[in-house]
């Protein structure tokens, strides 16, 4: 099980970062998106290769209005 944006999520172990983003309804590598895996930035160049594993905490972010 992984934690995706704070939500415990089953059945996603082994998915790539790009697949997780697609499941969230965005199209990687769109401008304005960023991903942290266990508190570290995942560069957009590896979103297609990097796979998540059981226990991983993923924060998938986007630019919004603010400031």
């Amino acid at each position: 099980m992984i934690s995706l944006n704070g939500v415990p999520t089953d059945g996603r172990d082994g998915a790539t970062i790009a697949e997780l983003l697609t499941a969230l309804g965005v199209e990687p590598p769109g401008r304005g998106l960023a991903v942290a895996l266990n508190g570290e930035v995942v560069p957009r160049g590896v979103w297609d290769q990097r796979r998540v594993a059981d226990g991983d905490r993923i924060e998938a972010l986007t630019a919004i209005q603010g400031g």
Partner: protein
């Protein structure tokens, strides 16, 4: 404005340059609080700004529309912020994510102390600023109206300082103009008033006090007519800057006649009115 005036302004003014980059407007627009993306686009055009802020939040699968599309359509540059961060750790990670998301080294650094005031947490802010400068960021910190903290932020390598006029979204204007003037007097980097502007005159005052620019969000986005207020604040920023360059008269306790005494006639022969 007459053609003659347009020619004269550059003689007294200097370009607005932050970290070696010349910005065409001294007004930076915060994008928070606009009820609709369409209004945001209209307000951006009305301000003539070159730089607008964005925040980073978790992807919301239900979200409608994309702010990035609006910003690209308007042809403006993006200044990501670290809004909502309470620690240096979170602010530094957010800045790194923003750099990845938006391909910019510029970051408006916010590290706040509590939810009620949204005032900066000075020790965490300084710690985060130092770390981000070391990481190669161009750091624009949202700071208190504290001249010493502003100097410390400049000393660790911040590209500008962004003191508040009053708390974020309060619309209370510039509560301590003397502190702001002290910051301006000592600063070797641009000073950009951030937070507190409630209406056009607040923005004009910031420039009159010597601030190099103003960042404005709620005053425009939450006005009854955001686009009209965007026009008003743009005019105020230009007026305030021009007034600063023009050099205001000193304040005096007593009157100083603008009409000369010399040549005043003596009407001794005229009878007094009954």
């Amino acid at each position: 404005m007459a053609a003659q005036d347009q020619e004269r302004i550059p003689l007294t003014d200097t370009p607005f340059v932050v970290a070696g980059r010349e910005l065409r407007s001294r007004l930076i627009l915060g994008t928070g609080g606009f009820p609709r993306l369409e209004t945001l686009g209209d307000a951006i055009r009305a301000t003539h700004t070159q730089l607008v802020t964005v925040a980073l939040r978790r992807i919301d699968p239900q979200a409608q529309g994309s702010i990035m599309a609006v910003l690209e359509e308007c042809g403006v540059d993006v200044l990501p912020n670290t809004a909502g961060c309470y620690t240096a750790r979170d602010a530094v990670l957010t800045a790194k994510l923003a750099r990845e998301a938006l391909q910019t080294d510029w970051i408006k650094l916010e590290v706040i102390g509590d939810e009620r005031t949204l005032l900066p947490d000075a020790p965490e802010l300084l710690l985060a600023a130092e770390e981000l400068v070391d990481e190669g960021f161009t750091v624009l910190p949202y700071t208190n109206d504290d001249p010493i903290l502003a100097r410390r932020l400049e000393d660790v390598g911040c590209a500008a300082v962004m003191p508040l006029g009053s708390p974020i979204g309060s619309g209370m204007g510039i509560r301590n103009p003397y502190n702001l003037a002290l910051i301006v007097e000592r600063a070797g980097v641009p000073v950009i008033l951030d937070a507190g502007v409630g209406t056009a005159s607040d923005a004009a005052l910031a420039l009159e006090l010597g601030c190099d620019g103003v960042l404005c969000a709620s005053a425009i986005s939450r006005a009854e007519d955001p686009v009209a207020m965007a026009h008003a604040i743009r005019g105020a920023v230009e007026a305030g800057r021009l007034a600063r360059c023009a050099g205001r008269i000193p304040r005096r306790t007593h009157a100083l006649a603008s009409t000369p005494d010399a040549g005043t006639p003596d009407f001794y022969a005229a009878p007094p009115l009954q």
